[in-house]
């Protein structure tokens, strides 16, 4: 157990360092983009005087280093600052978006994770059968199509016929059942996008384990193939499966902006894209930090679970 705690502490420390580097990187990238918020807001009607007035008000006339350090000072104290465009605290802006994004992530995960693990177990049970081949081909086809296209296909089949809405424009007051109904198509689209990865990893991990001598032993003692896979093979294949599940969950939080746009879903991705478009640096920084924390956190969680699932790792050192 002490092993695990020291690992968590070490990993958290590294995570914080990662986030710090990342925030610097993002800040520099947005700086490198041409134009700033003042110019974007004014568009064609920009005159040097109005641009200067807005820059002065927002503090954009200060050198970049000062602005970065000011921002960092605030974050350390838990203050993400104000959105430059809205002049409102970012936390209030982000909170509903995080809720929406987490809702969609959990919704998708609730469908995709059990589905892909069960399918993965099933195809390894019947490997090289027609079932195995058809499932694999379908899953690979789904992952190979760009996700916006999968979204359009879903709209074509399920929305234009009137079964499900094409717009998932939920808000904080939408009742849960309505939310599940409104978000069904985006969740289904994302399920199709992430299932193949998790299913094939499950299959590969199980098949890998199935080649080991102790499985042969189990078979010799007369255990049923399904019992061998679930009882004997799965526990030893958990580590790679959990890792790939964590990666895909992180992807669901961070990488779904295109699906958000197709289904008009008010999520974090859209917020970040708008932030970049208007050069609203604090919003970009805050969303980037959330995304990065999701990656760091979920990977840490995956490592903890795979360590716990492996007694050898627990006792070593």
């Amino acid at each position: 157990m002490p092993n695990i705690i020291s690992m968590i502490i070490k990993r958290l420390g590294l995570g914080v360092l990662t986030l710090l580097l990342l925030s610097l990187l993002i800040f520099l990238s947005v700086e490198a983009l041409p134009g700033d918020l003042a110019e974007t807001i004014l568009g064609q009607q920009a005159t040097p005087e109005t641009v200067a007035a807005i820059r002065k008000e927002l503090g954009l006339d200060q050198p970049p280093l000062t602005r970065y350090l000011n921002w960092l000072g605030g974050v350390v104290q838990g203050d993400f600052g104000n959105s430059l465009a809205l002049k409102k605290p970012i936390s209030g802006l982000i909170a509903p978006r995080i809720q929406n994004t987490l809702f969609l992530t959990l919704y998708t995960a609730a469908i995709a994770v059990p589905l892909s693990i069960i399918l993965g177990l099933a195809v390894s049970l019947f490997r090289n059968s027609y079932f195995d081949r058809i499932t694999n081909t379908t899953a690979l086809a789904a992952i190979s199509m760009p996700e916006f296209f999968v979204g359009y296909v879903m709209i074509y089949f399920f929305a234009l016929s009137g079964y499900f809405p094409s717009m998932a424009n939920i808000n904080a007051n939408t009742p849960l059942l309505d939310k599940l109904y409104l978000c069904f198509l985006p969740a289904l689209t994302l399920t199709l996008v992430v299932t193949a990865h998790m299913m094939r990893m499950t299959r590969a991990a199980i098949i890998n384990v199935l080649a080991l001598p102790y499985i042969e032993m189990a078979r010799l003692k007369g255990a049923k193939p399904s019992r061998i896979i679930v009882r004997h093979a799965l526990p030893n294949a958990i580590a790679p499966i959990v890792n790939v599940v964590a990666l895909n969950l992180a992807y669901l939080i961070t990488g779904v902006v295109i699906v958000e746009i197709v289904f008009v879903f008010p999520g974090l991705g859209q917020l970040m894209v708008d932030g970049v478009k208007f050069r609203d640096v604090p919003v970009v920084q805050a969303t980037a930090l959330i995304f990065a924390s999701a990656y760091v956190g979920l990977n840490l969680l995956a490592d903890i679970i795979s360590t716990l699932s492996n007694p050898r790792l627990m006792r070593q050192r």
């Binding site: 807001i41 009607q45 005087e49 007035a53 809205l86 094409s166 746009i261 008009v264 917020l271 932030g275």
Partner: protein, 554 residues
């Protein structure tokens, strides 16, 4: 609005003798204006010899065109962003224009469907001193959503919000000609301009200049979203969704507010917009790409709405760079553009032919085809101009990218083919989209560009074609044009003013560096549960963005 209520069927065409025709016309007018009942109208028409079918047709048309109160309008609109603010000075795009000016906070003036300007919160105005001094009457009995009565202070503070050296408003350019604005009693406002400008009422319809309640200290309350419009702001998630509800004490109820509530949704993806319209998730959408407009026609219960305003694609030539420094070369180029082909092939026919004149269909003093004949594709004429320039052949580069205008590279390829007949060789240079406005436009001698157009002739001429304009993207310098521009601005006699503007259009057409092949249409779609008047405004999409005020439930 009266236009939309005129029925297409006219019962006077059914009867033959003159006297009965006049009788029938009068009868129809009394029915349309509501002076006689439907039963009375039908029985009298039949008595003077009109067929029952004819009379019923008029009844049906009139009733369909009579606005019905109630129901809900849901619009899927582009241009919304999470960073949208309610500050009228920072309104950027369609979504916020529609919500703010179109639903919640009207301006002093508005553009009517026929292109004329009318008072909105201003009930009237008089210009004096060569259109330098303007007196506006503030409409009386107008109430803001919070119960406050509209008076001159609200108007003055709302306009001052955009003025001054520290202005952060996108509308600062519009009000830059205003020297001072002050109250003249409770219901009067006096505006002094730096120089005479007969267009002031039109300028005041600019989408930034929404009227908000004054806080009493010279500033305005824009934060609350309170205005004097037909709808009150109930829920507002920037760039995502806005819900407004009918304002019970709206001054113009019955004429300009028919829905109980209006829901505005930000849908930036064109496919998502079309899907939302076809599944009935929204009742109307803007910005349908020309490529997919034919799809709308195949949808059940969906109608297409097209308006052609001043949005224009242009091909500016720099008049101070060889070979375009020769007027003859510019004219040769203008004659090798096959406008009809560009309109049909690049824009799928959704637009209007341009005539190398930036004054468009939504402008008031636009020259008609008698005053300024349409320039056609004419390689012989082009050859003639080349000869005038002392050239037997010409080879030029056309710089294009989709940022300039969508399809400009293909347009260049078509021009290359059509120019061969005149011995002109056009090399189409595809430029990167990034940095196009700073590295290509106004830098390369001939490039692609677009403008959303301006509501007044003076505005577009002063901003782009005046020799000292910041955006003189043709580097054109014509002293007689500049002189007319200043004269026309303060001319108060409308006929004389028109003559001057037509003359200026002629000068740009013949001498300018502007090649303007096409005015682009706005393509919109709406469902048949909504009624749209026959005539819609073309200054902005969605009936000048006043759809929530001018449309009603079918």
């Amino acid at each position: 609005m009266s236009n939309s209520r005129n029925p297409k069927h006219d019962i006077s065409t059914e009867v033959s003798d003159k006297e009965t025709q006049i009788k029938a016309k009068k009868l129809q007018e009394s029915f349309i204006s509501g002076k006689i009942s439907r039963r009375n109208f039908v029985s009298t028409s039949v008595a003077i010899g009109v067929s029952l079918a004819g009379a019923t047709a008029v009844v049906n048309q009139v009733e369909a065109a009579t606005p019905k109160s109630g129901g809900r309008l849901r619009m899927g609109i582009t241009g919304g962003a999470t960073s949208d603010v309610l500050d009228p000075g920072q309104i950027l795009d369609a979504y916020m224009i529609n919500v703010s000016m179109g639903q919640v906070r009207p301006n002093m003036t508005k553009i009517m469907p026929d292109g004329s300007v009318e008072g909105d919160l201003a009930s009237g105005w008089q210009a004096s001193n060569g259109a330098k001094t303007w007196k506006f009457d503030v409409r009386q009995g107008v109430e803001f959503h919070n119960g406050k009565t509209l008076d001159s202070t609200d108007i003055v503070d709302s306009i001052r919000h955009h003025m001054g050296p520290d202005s952060k408003s996108g509308g600062s350019g519009v009000v830059s000609g205003i020297a001072s604005i002050k109250e003249d009693g409770k219901y009067g406002v006096v505006v002094e301009l730096n120089e005479g400008n007969g267009d002031l009422p039109i300028l005041l319809s600019d989408y930034h200049l929404n009227i908000c309640p004054s806080k009493g200290d010279g500033s305005i309350d824009w934060e609350s979203g309170i205005g004097a419009g037909p709808y009150t702001l109930e829920e507002h998630e920037p760039g995502v969704r806005t819900l407004t509800k009918k304002f019970a004490n709206y001054w113009n109820t019955g004429n300009e507010s028919h829905f109980d509530e209006v829901e505005t949704l930000g849908i930036n993806d064109p496919t998502a917009r079309l899907a939302a319209l076809s599944t009935g998730a929204v009742d109307a959408i803007n910005n349908v790409p020309a490529k997919t407009a034919s799809r709308l026609k195949s949808m059940v219960n969906v109608k297409t709405l097209i308006s052609t305003g001043n949005k224009q694609c242009t091909m500016p030539m720099l008049c101070d760079v060889a070979p375009f420094d020769d007027q003859n070369v510019r004219n040769a180029i203008k004659h090798i553009i096959n406008r009809q082909e560009l309109l049909d092939k690049i824009f799928f026919g959704y637009g209007q032919l341009g005539n190398d004149n930036p004054v468009g269909p939504a402008n008031y003093f636009r020259a008609n085809t008698d005053e300024l004949p349409q320039r056609e594709y004419d390689p012989e004429q082009a050859k003639y101009y080349l000869k005038q320039a002392g050239l037997s052949s010409l080879s030029v580069k056309f710089h294009a990218a989709d940022t300039g205008f969508s399809g400009s590279v293909d347009a260049g390829a078509l021009m290359r083919e059509s120019a061969k007949a005149a011995g002109i060789d056009i090399e189409v240079v595809r430029e990167p989209n990034d940095g196009y406005w700073s590295n290509v436009w106004m830098v390369k001698p001939w490039s692609a560009c677009y403008w959303s157009g301006r509501p007044t002739e003076d505005w577009i001429f002063s901003q782009i074609y005046y020799s000292k304009a910041d955006w003189n993207d043709t580097h054109w310098n014509n002293s007689s044009f500049d002189k007319l521009l200043v004269e026309a601005r303060s001319e108060t006699d409308e006929a004389k003013r028109r003559d001057k503007y037509v003359e200026m259009q002629r000068i740009v057409h013949n001498d300018g560096g502007l090649a303007l092949p096409v005015f682009l249409s706005e393509i919109m779609g709406y469902r048949s549960n909504i009624t749209v008047p026959d005539q819609i405004a073309n200054n902005w999409e969605l009936d000048g963005h006043l759809a929530a005020r001018r449309w009603w439930t079918a």
